[in-house]
């Protein structure tokens, strides 16, 4: 078999794409995932749509004129389309909202992407305000495939009690984020 050695990777892949796209994606990934999750809460659905979105965004990245500021909203537009396309294949699923409702959730003003990024920033702040034991509970609950039942056993509590605690903590975090946002808005 003959081989040639002149085929460099740099010939095949635009250097800008290689360096810029992953960086921008890593930066905006949490906000994009949060956007998708509201419409597709199942983690497998979420992962699948994120795959599709990333592939399309990669392919079309060169079309984006102002990547530094426009990347997040631009990917959100792609995600919106992919979510709607995906949900049509699973319309009867329990966790898939009706189409008009899904569209309502996805139709956002242009500044929503940056707002979601701020939510995530404030989430970090708000988490630090929780008691250590509550931080630990949240971390464990979301950390792996551990079930609520197992988590409850480890804490010698009933599963429902742990679930209620987790729900309260999430609501408290959401309230805290809203408060931080309004405080910031008042300044």
């Amino acid at each position: 078999m003959e081989w040639e050695f002149t085929n460099k990777m740099s010939d095949e892949l635009n250097a800008d794409l290689r360096s810029e796209f992953p960086r921008l994606w890593a930066k905006h990934d949490p906000s994009i995932r949060a956007f998708v999750r509201a419409s597709l809460p199942d983690p497998h659905d979420l992962a699948e749509v994120m795959q599709n979105v990333s592939v399309i965004a990669w392919k079309k990245f060169s079309d984006l004129e102002d990547a530094e500021t426009g990347f997040g909203p631009w990917v959100s537009v792609i995600a919106r389309y992919e979510i709607l396309k995906f949900r049509r294949t699973k319309a009867r699923d329990r966790l898939v909202l009706d189409e008009d409702v899904a569209e309502k959730l996805l139709d956002e003003p242009s500044d929503s992407f940056s707002m979601r990024s701020e939510w995530l920033l404030y989430l970090s702040t708000c988490l630090k305000k929780l008691k250590k034991e509550h931080q630990s509970l949240l971390r464990e609950a979301y950390a792996s495939d551990i079930s609520i039942k197992k988590l409850a056993e480890q804490r010698n509590k009933k599963p429902n009690a742990v679930y209620q605690t987790l729900s309260r903590l999430r609501s408290a975090l959401a309230d805290c984020i809203e408060k931080e946002m309004s405080t910031k808005g008042a300044q």
Binding site: A34, L105, L138, A143, S167
Partner: protein, 505 residues
């Protein structure tokens, strides 16, 4: 209370929603804008908590890969590429940041052919973290987070220490180090090879620990691994061998044992030749383009016959070692005689077009075009492509893309008289469609026809010269209509590389 619906939202976000509750949720969101905003916030909180809770030992985040094959998936690769993360930025510190990305790893498997790892010595799907790996079979292409590409052929044993250092205990590695990643080091048992911005190949003998370095481009420094003393700088075109404590220059020998990134696609293609030879009778022409005097049909139902090569020359195809036919003169072509009648015909090919310099360029067209049933597949000067037959009127034509030049492209098309339609695809995506009116003639009979050219004896024909300027590498003919899924599979089987898919579409 703004959080009065939170319980319902959590059921939805946690996958515990009943049908009744789903209906309740839909109605609520339909009429209550504040509820929509609250749900979005709670979804963001949940997503943020998933990341906050990241723990490397627990291997938390595993994207679903069910639609893509293990290892070679472009999509999986991209998802994984997007998760590249410097280890210094990992959670695990006392106060992890919510917005940090997820699973850490140093390198990503971007392509492979027949790769098999020893039990317990393989990657986490496509991700390579710190650890020992043993490649028992096949070839792998790894990309590190700093952009370094390494290609290895089995058998190979190596340890990834971080994204700037791998230890090669045994095997052959080809490394391409881009600007900015200088300092990437491959350690052998007795010597370190530190890149200074280059491309090089290293072979390590697992028995005696000796190693050989070939510098393809740039410079590599050989250093004492204990003292970091510079032992020698090796430059482009030079080779050196380290054995029994001595570093000596050697002649550069045959480098063919080192796989290059592009060669993986060829290996994969060779492994999958059986896909075509295991097809049903519907595949009537399969031309893999092996260099032979005739263009031989390897189909198990070869009613199309072999092609007669006239003028077209054998050149390198999609990969080094793979052949294609070059058509660059007005009298270059391959001729066939297809006397059967067909209700449905599909064709697919890998083609690399240099230019469109004629009004029409032929891919595969019946000679003369004077008899009902004659077949055509040709391109316009503007890179649009059409397929059809004489007697089948194409109506409501749409065309959304043009064919790119100067790169390998997968083209395919189908004409179905029963379905009354024509479909054409570029790289697996449908780009042209037409309804078909077969009322004046309802059979396709290609007869004598040419690939890469057209022949006519009609002196009044205005576009006599329709010679292709470019290369063809593989051609298939089916007596059925290909589905979207089948076309996508053909693309997947023959794509030049994973990177081709990223960069060419």
């Amino acid at each position: 209370m703004k959080n009065k619906h939170d319980k319902l939202f959590y059921k939805y976000l946690d996958g515990r929603l009943s049908e009744e509750e789903k209906s309740e949720l839909n109605n609520l969101l339909r009429k209550d804008n504040e509820a929509c905003e609250r749900l979005k916030l709670l979804a963001t909180v949940s997503e943020g908590l998933s990341e906050y809770s990241y723990n490397p030992q627990n291997n938390v985040t595993k994207p679903s890969l069910k639609y893509v094959p293990w290892l070679i998936s472009l999509a999986a690769s991209i998802v994984a590429v997007l998760s590249f993360l410097k280890p210094e930025a990992k959670p695990g510190s006392a106060e992890p940041e919510v917005s940090t990305p997820q699973t850490p790893f140093y390198a990503l498997l971007v392509d492979q052919a027949g790769a098999e790892f020893a039990d317990g010595a393989g990657p986490d799907q496509v991700k390579f973290n710190k650890g020992l790996y043993q490649l028992d079979d096949g070839v792998i292409h790894l990309r590190f987070s700093n952009g370094v590409d390494t290609v290895m052929r089995a058998p190979a044993t190596f340890a990834i220490r971080n994204d700037y250092n791998i230890r090669l205990d045994h095997g052959d590695v080809w490394a391409i180090v881009p600007p900015g990643a200088e300092g990437f080091t491959i350690s052998s048992p007795s010597i370190d090879y530190e890149d200074r911005g280059t491309e090089f190949a290293i072979s390590v003998d697992g028995v005696n620990g000796s190693s050989t370095l070939h510098v393809i481009d740039g410079q590599v420094d050989a250093r004492n691994p204990k003292s970091n003393e510079l032992l020698s700088s090796v430059f482009e075109g030079q080779s050196t061998e380290f054995s029994e404590g001595e570093l000596i220059p050697v002649e550069t020998s045959d480098l063919s044992k080192f796989p290059s990134p592009n060669s993986i696609g060829y290996l994969r293609w060779q492994e999958q030749l059986s896909f075509y030879t295991n097809q049903s009778d519907e595949l009537i022409g399969y031309f893999p383009f092996f260099e032979e005097p005739h263009l031989k049909n390897y189909s198990t139902n070869p009613i199309v016959g072999d092609g007669e090569i006239h003028g077209a020359r054998w050149v390198t195809g999609r990969w080094p070692g793979k052949k294609a036919l070059l058509f660059d003169r007005d009298d270059d072509y391959v001729e066939f005689n297809i006397t059967h009648e067909f209700d449905e015909l599909s064709m697919s090919t890998w083609i690399n077009i240099d230019r469109f310099d004629k009004t029409l360029t032929s891919v595969f067209v019946s000679n003369d075009w004077d008899v009902p049933g004659d077949f055509f597949w040709q391109m316009t000067r503007y890179g649009q492509i059409w397929m059809g037959y004489r007697g089948g009127n194409r109506i409501n034509k749409t065309n959304t893309q043009v064919i790119p030049t100067g790169q390998w492209v997968h083209l395919s098309g189908s004409v179905s008289i029963p379905q009354k339609r024509v479909k054409l695809f570029i790289n697996g995506e449908m780009m042209s469609y037409a309804d078909l009116d077969p009322s004046s003639f309802n059979k396709m009979v290609p007869g004598m026809c040419r690939m890469g050219n057209w022949h006519t004896t009609n002196i009044n024909e205005g576009n006599k010269v329709r010679a292709l300027c470019g290369k063809i590498d593989q051609f298939s003919i089916w007596q059925k209509e290909l589905s979207q899924e089948e076309v996508e599979e053909l693309v997947e089987l023959g794509k030049p590389s994973v990177l081709w898919a990223m960069s060419s579409q």
